[in-house]
Amino acid sequence: MTSAPLVHLFLGLLLAPLLLGVINRTKAFFAGRRGPPVLQLYWDLAKLLRKGAVYSQTTTWVFQAGPVVGLAAVLAALALIPFGGAAAPLHFNGDLLLLAYVLGLMRFFTVVAALDTGSSFEGMGASREVQFAALAEPALLLALAAAARKAGSLSLSGILPAAVPLSPELALAAGALVIVFLCENSRVPFDDPNTHLELTMIHEVMVLDHSGPDLALILYSAALKLWVLGALIVGMLVPTVAGVPWVANTVIGLAGMLLLAVVVGVVESVTARVRLVRVPHLLAAAGALAALAFVLVLR
């Protein structure tokens, strides 16, 4: 049992880029294309890490600090997230707050790194990012509060493994989390990772000027963030089986993650992006779902 958290941490580090491959393959399937290889992001990372870099003359050390702080922060988040019914490598009462706020630290540095270029495109992306994040934050914490009350624990490692699948409260909270997940990871309907027009981008445009190893760190951090928030949803919705070796639960958890990736791919294939001015409404809906979940738990 003791090795489970470390194995899960390692799995997260190893498999996070795979999720994006699965999402892209699903989208390709819906579009009738062959699509890029499932392991494409791994090849991209390997190639970027071997490259040199081009920095804008305008930028300072803040620009270079963005990717490294982002990776350090998301690694802390990964260490706090439980997986497959086992506790996280690091867990304590209140770790859910630290999870939310290290992701906030990552966002802060991504945004200031974007502003460091002085580009209007990146300023625009940064402005949208902080707006959506500010509105997503209450929904995230409210959903976590509902789940925490349901489980009677203040630690993610107490909340997720105790999650009862198919309970209406958790389903609502998970619904809110799915919206937050799509928003925070810049997926359709909030952002389109495939867009080629700088004016319409959010996350992609903030990292427009990063290149080489910096870009590799950013892409890998984004994959890890997808994994962390995905594990939160999977942990709430996918049941863990008692009385079997932990490896079995790990496999169930992995299957859940892959299923989530497929679902994201399907969502991206069948829905269009909402207009930017409508995004806050969607996030308010997430808040409403989370509030409803909380009221149900309170009852």
Partner: protein, 660 residues
């Protein structure tokens, strides 16, 4: 206690010395700054001893004043406030020596130092006083000395207006404190604080609670009583803004907490509505504070609104504590109070730092207009680095101190939300919501403030020609930035001190639950340190990867446009626009636009301003109405001396008849 009295005396002496040396401004600055520094060093020992659980110090000096006694006491609560007061004042004083230099010959430096020292001394006395009369006298001395400090640049009209607004607002607050202290005095039969605890009946206690919230809240700057804050802070010299925003507002919190400690001793107190009231006040101040900050174009005004936000967070913490007390949940109470009080200290550190940083920018560029700045990190590396530290800290992000106090308040709220009954969980989940929204908006606001001011290219010639300030200004900022980091990484060691300070509010029962929070803070600080270390390691790794490779410099990607200019950068107003538009109902931003209307437009512009809603729709109508009513009285002022003589005779006659 003798040491503290000596510190007060030193402050007075140094202030007077600076005043006497006013014809030689440089000497006056040194003499004026020496007092706060010496006082801070002197007071460090007794304050720390008391906070570490040492004996409470008290003394009484002879004072011939009816109902007044000069009794002073240093307990853990006072010590918790005195430490940041003296610490920040000392650093502000050192900073002020250099900051005031350009004003030599234009304004009186010596008088400014006299007021500065009086302000510091009166703040310390407010925290030490144990007699209502002494407290109020110190309170008024504080108001007047800070009034003169705000009015430093008295030849500018907007500065004079700001100072008058401040003076009026602060006295409205005091007007609510007088009846409160009087009802305490009447019930206790004495104006000594020692007799106040639990002397009131439940109904009276409720009234006094509301009076205290309004009276002390005006000083602390809660919405909608905050009108003076966004006026006075930008008008004052920056080291004074730092002291006023960082610690003077906190004397309002101190007063509220002190009075609460009397009130919670009332049998049956506190009723649940006290907690609710504080939660609502805190949430409104917090959310509206940060929203108005987001809409500002003036760097110091933005910081002033952030003080409103942080006071909101502190009040939320106190509210969580009261809810915990009334529900009989000592863990919730202890965490809420401890978080609120720790945020008092933390806010003093990072808001002091940010105001000093803004002052450094003002010193170099001579404008506070955010949209005229840019690219200052290259030109002012130390100011930039420390401002970034303050920005991360005030956004409540790990690994810095702001996260620790917010974590404690959150932890208290979550504790009650998860384990409490519905009447406890319902208000506390509102705290979680409010804190989450405030946190998200604060990130938006400070990425804007730091990003637009310090990053990118300069948006004007003045910003391009900026230079770093001298050591007297940068060293205090570096020390405060260090304190932000220390407060985040050494948080577990602060808990015992907090426990002693919280005891008068939450009772001795609070100490045990707070100690259970110790291991949590060890985790938080440990992981924060890990994040910091990992970031440094990754940075080193990246540097190692790039050695020997092709690393080039080029222009920022601009979609292939051939002639990028600094004017094409995103501005602070456009950065904040999506959020200010979304919350338009609350902000009522005014837009003046000239849209491009022909096929080949030559000129178009947009101007936005966000006036204070509370000033425009609460204070202005109120004062205008008062003015109209009182102007009728003017009929009596005919200017004719015979009529005045008639008034005198009539008054005498009435008095004679009345006494007959």
């Amino acid at each position: 206690m003798t040491i503290l009295m000596l510190a007060l005396l030193l402050l007075l002496l140094s202030g007077v010395a600076a005043f006497l040396l006013r014809s030689r401004p440089t000497a006056a600055s040194v003499a004026g700054a020496a007092g706060p520094v010496a006082a801070a060093m002197l007071a460090l020992v007794p304050a720390l001893t008391v906070l570490r659980g040492g004996e409470v110090l008290s003394t009484e000096l002879p004072w011939a004043m009816p109902f007044g006694r000069f009794c002073v006491q240093l307990d853990a609560l006072s010590a918790l406030f005195i430490l940041p007061i003296l610490g920040l004042s000392a650093l502000g004083a050192v900073y002020g020596i250099e900051y005031l230099r350009p004003y030599i010959g234009k304004y009186s430096i010596g008088s400014s130092w006299l007021c500065y020292n009086l302000l510091v001394a009166s703040m310390v006395l407010v925290c030490l006083a144990r007699n209502a009369l002494l407290f109020l006298l110190a309170w008024e001395l504080m108001a007047f000395s800070s009034f003169f400090l705000v009015a430093f640049e008295n030849r500018r009209k907007e500065v004079r207006n700001a100072a008058w607004t401040y003076l009026v607002a602060t006295h409205i607050g005091t007007a609510f404190l007088l009846p409160m202290f009087l009802s305490f005095g009447q019930a206790a039969g004495s104006l000594d604080f020692a007799q106040f605890a639990g002397c009131l009946g439940p109904a009276q206690a409720g009234v006094c609670f509301v009076l205290a919230v309004i009276g002390f809240g005006t000083k602390a700057g809660i919405m909608p009583l905050h009108v003076w804050l966004p006026e006075a802070h930008p008008a004052a010299p920056s080291h004074v803004s730092a002291v006023m925003s960082g610690v003077m507002l906190k004397t309002g919190i101190y007063g509220l907490v002190r009075v609460l400690s009397f009130l919670v001793a009332t049998p049956g107190a506190p009723p649940a509505w006290w907690g609710w009231l504080l939660l609502i006040v805190g949430a409104v101040s917090g959310i509206l504070g940060v929203l108005f900050a987001l809409a500002q174009h003036d760097l110091k005004r933005l910081l002033a609104y952030h003080s409103v936000e942080n006071i909101g967070i502190i009040i939320l913490g106190l509210g969580v504590g009261l809810i915990g007390l009334s529900a009989g949940a000592p863990v919730v109470a202890a965490l809420g109070f401890a978080g609120g009080l720790l945020h008092v200290v933390n806010h003093a550190v990072f808001k002091g730092l940010l105001f000093l940083g803004a002052g450094s920018v003002l010193h170099a560029v001579h404008t506070r207009e955010i949209d005229h700045l840019g690219g200052l990190l290259r030109r002012m590396p130390l100011t930039g680095l420390t401002f970034l530290t303050g920005a991360v800290a005030i956004s409540g992000l790990p690994p810095l101190n702001g996260f620790i106090s917010e974590f404690l308040i959150y932890a208290g709220a979550f504790q009650g939300t998860v384990n409490g009954a519905a009447p406890v969980a319902a208000p506390l989940v509102l705290v979680i919501l409010a804190l989450a929204l405030i946190g998200g908006l604060a990130v938006a606001c400070f990425t804007k403030a730091f990003g637009i001011v310090f990053l990118g290219e300069p948006r004007g010639a003045a910003a391009a020609a900026a230079h770093e300030s001298g050591r007297l200004m940068t060293v205090p900022m570096l020390l405060l930035a260090g304190a932000c980091l220390a407060g985040g990484l050494l948080a577990p060691f602060l808990l015992p001190a907090l426990a002693t300070a919280v005891a008068p509010l939450a009772g001795a029962a609070a100490i045990a639950p707070l100690q259970t929070a110790g291991p949590l803070l060890v985790w938080v600080s440990g992981i924060s340190a890990g994040v910091l270390l990992a970031a440094l390691l990754f940075a080193a790794w990246k540097r190692w990867l790039l050695t020997g490779r092709d690393v080039r410099r080029a222009v920022t990607w601009d979609c292939g446009y051939a002639a990028p200019s600094p004017r094409m950068q995103y501005t602070a107003s456009s950065f904040a626009q999506p959020l200010t538009d979304f919350f338009e109902v609350l902000l009522r931003t005014r837009k003046h636009m000239r849209l491009p209307d022909v096929h080949f437009p030559t000129a178009a512009n947009i101007e936005t301003e966000t006036p204070d809603v509370s000033r425009e729709s609460l204070y202005a109508p109120l004062f205008n109405a008062t003015g109209r009513v009182l102007s009728r009285v003017r009929v009596m002022q005919s200017g004719c001396i015979q009529v005045y003589v008639l008034y005198l005779v009539l008054t005498l006659l009435v008095l004679l008849i009345w006494k007959l």
